[in-house]
Amino acid sequence: MDDPRAPRLVETVLRCYPARWRRRHGEEAAELAALLIRDGTPAISVAWSYLAGAARARLTLRPGRYLTAVACALLVAACSLGVSAGLLASAAPARAASTSQAPGRAHCRAGSPAPVPGMTPAMSRPQVIIWEVGHGRSC
């Protein structure tokens, strides 16, 4: 190993693995890294491979933890829905107040075009009828 920092780098990265993994593979993994670096594999490449492996080892679910993980995921989903519903509920009165301030408006904004000549209410779609009576929300 030419670079004296290489063993320390690998050692640091190996600490990212779960303790159970380190007890089982730790010494062999350090020796394997030393052999690979001696063969010419860059130390950074070895360290990166171990770092990705450590991330995978931590993310891999063991059978006993599966139900806990599912329960946590459901809880997070329920909380997200609750927060969204709360935000919608708090925004609804504000919207209602803003629409009730302009009940008599003929059009949505000044200078809006008049209804298309020749279009009878029977031909028009429901949205046009609402617009004609000046409902602010159709904009």
Binding site: W21, E27, A29, E31, A33, V46, W48, S49, Y50, G53
Partner: protein, 112 residues
């Protein structure tokens, strides 16, 4: 592709990744430890397995019962392929051969 009957004929290696299949192929001719596996796979398939990938695949294969560790030789832990591992490898290689043959045939038919 023929219809499979039960778990015995299923290709369990379809979703384990290339590294796991290469490890099984390398272990098919005898037990090996990590460094020997990396060297053998490099020769066999011209693939350089990273050590992190190697240990991840070894753990997965062991969980699936396709390989088993042997008593440690100093710091090194050799692994060997189990009977279900050998059967799974055979099924997977058969499947690859069928797909490969179909691909070659279609290339010929397509005149490419």
């Amino acid at each position: 592709m023929s219809k499979r009957d039960g778990r015995a004929g299923q290709d369990v290696l379809r979703r384990v990744g290339e590294a796991s299949v290469l490890i099984l192929i390398s272990l098919a001719d005898g037990p090996k430890h990590g460094y020997a596996l990396i060297q053998d796979i490099k020769q066999l398939a011209d693939v350089e397995l990273g050590p992190g990938t190697l240990y991840g695949a070894l753990d997965r294969l062991e969980r699936l019962g396709l390989i088993e560790p042997l008593p440690a030789d100093d710091r090194r832990h050799p692994y060997r392929i189990t009977a279900p591992g050998a059967a799974a490898l055979r099924v997977h290689l058969d499947s690859l051969e069928r797909v490969s043959a179909a691909g070659r045939l279609r290339l010929r038919l397509g005149g490419i």
